[in-house]
């Protein structure tokens, strides 16, 4: 068939499909109302056939390029990933994520060791020798922390220098979640950065804890951290584990190409961080709106804190077991 006849015969279809693609770009749902998915499928396949024909028959580049554009646009529409449903997210948090954490238990155990061992060691050290706190923080920060955890002086609430609940919520969201993301991404630097970040954070938190307990602020500090400690610390460990996984893929890719190992670690790590993000979100809520309250008695906070630890560890260890 000559090119002119071909174009004359099918030109209208192409214009209509082009219009559909334009509508799709503006609004996915409205476009699908105007053209039923089955009809779209038929038209797309027809276009693919026409493109193949046009190429084979040696039609001009103008026609071929136009068909190529339409086909690529149609491909874009057809092969969209399925949109995420809330149900899938719920299933991920309920089963998928805990299972993944258990599957990656080696990385998680390493990260936990890198975090909690320095934490406990530093806490014990500063408790025995409170002056060591000054090796970790400078004098101004120490004074600030003391003020934060002294119920007589902490007017805005425990654990904060100033500011309302909403403000601190914003701060925790921006600060803590970004730290979690960085723990993961920095794994690309041959796994060194997550190690460093985990140890550093462990040291800082441990030193502070030991010092405040020795200094007589045990009750305010522990009652503050009790509520959100579990999700926050464990999320940091999990994000660190994701980073370690990434670094390990670079250093010891095993039987795979380095690139493939990286991609796999990126995928797994991404899922871990997604769950970690949810945990940090929860921790931010608790930390901002509950932990700092001066009105809730410490006993209640301890009880809630203990329950949170049990729940979080239980969820990670047991949820989704077959």
């Amino acid at each position: 068939m000559r090119q002119e006849r071909f174009v004359a015969k099918h030109g209208d279809e192409w214009t209509r499909f082009d219009a559909f693609l334009g509508a799709w770009r503006r609004d996915h749902r409205a476009a699908l109302v105007s053209l039923h998915p089955d009809a779209f499928m038929r038209r797309y396949r027809t276009l693919c056939q026409q493109l193949a024909l046009a190429r084979q028959r040696g039609y001009s580049s103008r026609v071929v390029d136009r068909l190529q554009d339409l086909v690529q646009g149609g491909h874009q529409v057809l092969y969209r990933g399925a949109p995420f449903t809330w149900r899938e997210i719920g299933a991920f948090l309920a089963h998928g994520f805990p299972r993944l954490v258990r599957a990656e238990r080696r990385a998680v155990a390493c990260a936990a060791a890198l975090f909690f061992v320095p934490l406990l060691a530093m806490a014990w050290l500063t408790h025995a020798r409170p002056e060591l706190i000054h090796s970790v923080f400078d004098a101004a920060q120490v004074a600030s922390y003391e003020q934060m955890y002294d119920p007589a002086r902490a007017k805005a609430g425990l654990g904060r220098e100033q500011g309302g609940d909403a403000m601190m919520f914003g701060f925790y969201i921006l600060n803590n979640i970004s730290i979690g993301f960085r723990c993961f991404a920095s794994g690309l630097l041959f796994g060194v950065a997550p190690v460093f970040l985990l140890v550093l954070n462990g040291v800082m938190i441990g030193a502070l804890a030991g010092y405040l307990v020795a200094n007589g602020s045990a009750v305010p500090f522990l009652s503050f951290t009790a509520g959100h400690g579990a999700p926050e610390l464990l999320a940091i460990v999990i994000c660190g584990a994701a980073g370690l996984r990434l670094g390990f893929a670079l250093i010891a890719p095993g039987p795979r190409r380095r690139r493939d190992a990286l991609v796999e670690a990126g995928r797994v790590g991404g899922a871990l961080v997604a769950g970690g993000f949810a945990m940090l979100l929860l921790a931010a809520f608790i930390e901002a709106f509950w932990s700092a309250s001066l009105f809730v008695p410490p006993v209640v906070k301890y009880a809630v804190g203990g329950a949170m630890w049990l729940l979080t560890l239980g969820w990670l260890a047991l949820a989704g077991r077959r």
Binding site: G58, R62, V63, G81, G170, I173
Partner: protein, 227 residues
């Protein structure tokens, strides 16, 4: 046909997709536009929420978080792979196999910006991009994505004044595209360069120098005009 790296991917329908990968300059420009948009939004948000004092500060901080991490991911997944900056530069993020980018890939590639940004000004990312055959920064490599040109509708300009004339020799598809591309670019080239390129086809056009150029433009007009 353009001279940039093209990735050919076969789809399940047996069609070859041609994805033209985007290089450093365009991507940097798109990033610059996005950064300005984000700063603008952030400034506006700060102004508005500044009224609410401390609560407002909290909202501003949450906005900062969303603008840093959420903006690129949301646009890439929900708006056909293009943030506003990328859209202005006609770019799109896709999976390596040509399919539109999904949540996990976008999440990972954007989180990796932390490393790509090091030590300053995306230095690591730029080096990776320049070395990689497909202009991928570290985030793209780990997430298996590509940033490609989103071409629709530029099917060759009609060169004013050159009367359409059918080519003397039968041209294959790639050759036709080359002639049309020459016509598209000819006004960006120096006259000497144009003549140099046209002379390559002197045996076919039967003319050299400026006349050869003119012949090619006439051919291009014919190829473009012919539906």
């Amino acid at each position: 046909m353009k001279v940039d790296p093209v990735r050919a991917l076969e789809t399940p329908e047996g069609i070859t997709l041609e994805l033209r990968v985007a290089g450093l300059g365009v991507r940097a420009a798109a990033w610059g536009i996005d950064m300005m948009i984000r700063l603008g939004v952030f400034w506006a948000v700060s102004m508005v929420f500044g009224i609410l004092q401390l609560t407002g500060v909290g909202l501003v901080l949450v906005s900062a978080f969303l603008l840093t991490w959420g903006y690129p991911i949301a646009f890439e997944v929900l708006r056909d792979g293009a943030t506003p900056g990328k859209r202005m530069m006609h770019l799109r993020v896709v999976h390596e196999d040509g399919t539109p980018v999904g949540w996990m890939a976008s999440f990972v590639r954007n989180l990796m910006r932390t490393v790509d940004m090091l030590p300053i000004g995306y230095a690591v990312g730029i080096v990776a991009l320049l070395f990689d055959g497909e202009s991928r920064r570290l985030g793209d490599i780990v997430a298996r994505t590509l940033v490609v040109y989103d071409e629709r509708g530029d099917h060759g300009l009609f060169v004013a004044g050159a009367a359409p004339e059918p080519p003397r020799v039968a041209l294959e598809l790639a050759e036709q595209r080359a002639v049309v591309a020459f016509a598209e670019r000819h006004d960006r080239l120096t006259p000497e360069r144009r003549a140099e390129l046209a002379d390559l086809l002197a045996p076919a056009t039967g003319a050299r120098g400026d006349e050869g150029v003119w012949r090619l433009l006439c051919w291009a007009n014919w190829l473009v005009g012919r539906q």
